[in-house]
Subunit: 350 residues, 2 copies
């Protein structure tokens, strides 16, 4: 798991760089007939598995995974919802610490990504660049000298890179500055999305920032540019928290206290409410309201509160109502060890 | 204070019997000129103070009370909101344990009431009947052999009695049976009102049931009739709780747990939210979710969370927002000693 610490990890949850690649002389997965798709899959999978970075990898065809396993991969942001719906002729290869992940026959033949905790875009880029270089020795990619890497969707054409970071921005949300920030970031040519990516809500005050353009700019420059924008967003989030704690500390304590009170005492709670409340509790940990409590606990609760992770612990298939009850049981149990939040001392800059 | 225990006090908070009386040959307070009102006041006050039941009484003219003191009397249901707005020529006499209270020159010259904790309507009636008998030796009341006691408002004519009980009915509210019960009670000629009496909301699932007719029925029979209706409401509330705990226990635990979680951890909370959550916590105490916690604590919090009782603890005048913060500070402090609710064992009848 990548849920360990990294630079700026109070605000940047994960850094991620994804490359899309397609095989020369094979139709794109969306156009391919089943036979062609399987042929491409059979060419790609051993090549990926043979990478030194993929020693002892988890490598599976999508049809060999249960619905629950697929949903868990979605909740961990390792496969897209679309990919989870695929069956034979599509697959996934994951390295043991889940810092590298390759989807085979998603929208493109290969969607490979590197993940890092905290703000580590350059490291993620270097890791995935090495995978790409190594794979290029094993597979022949569709590449045009004018256009660059060819992709199923023209928006990915060129570098076919997507650089993204998952940001926890409760300060900007509470200070009601988030929409302004999103607009500014959009103007810089970057996209801001919700928790589960494109077209999803910003659950738990988590936002995903990524590049939109893939053509006409070198990968390293794209990474650098996003890195700079993220540094600014981090500064804005830190300022927002600082100002809130100076001028509206009671409001912040109120949100965090209530969030904890509900999480630790509810007997039924939805996934959505849980994420939103855990976000506030995470903020509380950041600002010293839970001495002795590690961010890791909250991050773990964030993960295991999601439907499939919760379902995994039970043998029978659960309905939403049952899941809400079991989620609350799990949260009450896990939060027994966490004492009520304290009122932190007046802030310096947090 | 009457916040001690009495029969059925999990459901019946207080029993109360009020009599309205007017002096013969004096205009009703609403019609009287200031001079007449003062004359009536000067006749009534010493008569009330001289009652053996009123030894060491708190006896004050309304103009000698501060706005805060008046508001506190309203919050304790000892004077009406209308009476609290009065000044010179109106007053209040309270016995030391606050089980007897006489308003002078409210709507009538005398509004005297006896209060008892729990279901003790007969005892309250006997107590106020003795006060009435004793006062009749000292004052000449306006009385018509045909109509009975004369009152400023014809709806009180005759016995001029109002028999009422304050009921805590969270079970009927959660089971969504409360409106049905209110309608049935109304059909029996009784009124159901909110927390602060006529025209007010049912804050904290507290309802006041009282007679509407005062003419043509003996006092003792009115008391008896309401007593019977209350016994039925109590049974319905107990049944509702029993059914909820058998078939929807998680829902009840969820409400109680969340209520406690918010009360014990908020940093700002309104009077209204507090009462609604305390009502749920009170239910939680009743059904064994807070072992070792006494109902008295919750009843006390109910009282001291109200605006004037809260304001009393601070020298400067507080705005609503400041009160919400101080209320939450008080609640967090008081609930530090109360452990998180437990999941009670499966119920017998509760």
């Amino acid at each position: 798991m990548v849920r360990c610490s990294g630079p700026h990890d109070r605000i940047v949850m994960t850094s991620r760089v994804r490359l899309a690649r397609n095989l020369r002389n094979f139709p794109f997965p969306g156009w391919a007939k089943k036979g062609d798709r399987i042929k491409a899959y059979d060419a790609i999978r051993p090549a990926v598995e043979s990478l030194p970075q993929m020693t002892d990898a988890f490598s599976e065809s999508m049809d060999s995974l249960t619905a629950l396993e697929k949903q868990m991969l979605v909740e961990r942001h390792l496969v897209s919802r679309e990919h989870a719906a695929k069956t034979v002729g599509s697959g996934i290869v994951l390295n043991p610490d889940v810092s590298l992940c390759v989807m085979i026959n998603e929208e493109d033949h290969l969607r490979m990504q590197a993940l890092r905790p905290g703000l580590q875009l350059k490291q993620a880029w270097q890791a995935i660049d090495r995978v790409d270089t190594d794979l290029e020795k094993r597979l022949e990619f569709a590449f045009s000298p004018q256009l660059g890497y060819l992709t199923a969707c023209p928006t990915n054409l060129g570098t076919a890179i997507r650089v993204s970071a998952m940001l926890h921005l409760p300060g900007l949300v509470l200070a009601e500055q988030i929409n302004q920030i999103i607009q500014s970031v959009n103007k810089l040519g970057l996209a801001v999305r919700g928790f589960y990516g494109e077209g999803t809500e910003a659950l738990g005050n988590v936002f995903q920032v990524s590049n939109q353009m893939t053509l006409g700019e070198e990968e390293a420059r794209i990474v650098e540019r996003i890195d700079k924008v993220l540094a600014q967003i981090i500064e804005h989030e830190e300022n927002a928290r600082g100002v809130l704690l100076e001028s509206k500390s009671k409001m912040v304590f109120n949100h965090v206290g209530r969030a904890y009170g509900i999480l630790a005492n509810a007997h039924s709670i939805s996934s959505k409410e849980t994420m939103n409340l855990l976000s506030l509790m995470k903020l509380g940990v950041d600002i010293g309201m839970f001495p002795g409590v590690n961010q890791v606990l909250v991050d773990e609760l964030f993960l295991i509160s999601q439907p499939a992770h919760l379902q995994r612990q039970f043998s029978e298939k659960l309905g939403a109502e049952e899941r809400d009850i079991l989620r609350s049981d799990m949260l009450r149990e896990r939060l027994k060890a966490v004492s009520r939040p304290i009122t932190p001392p007046p802030p310096g800059k947090v």
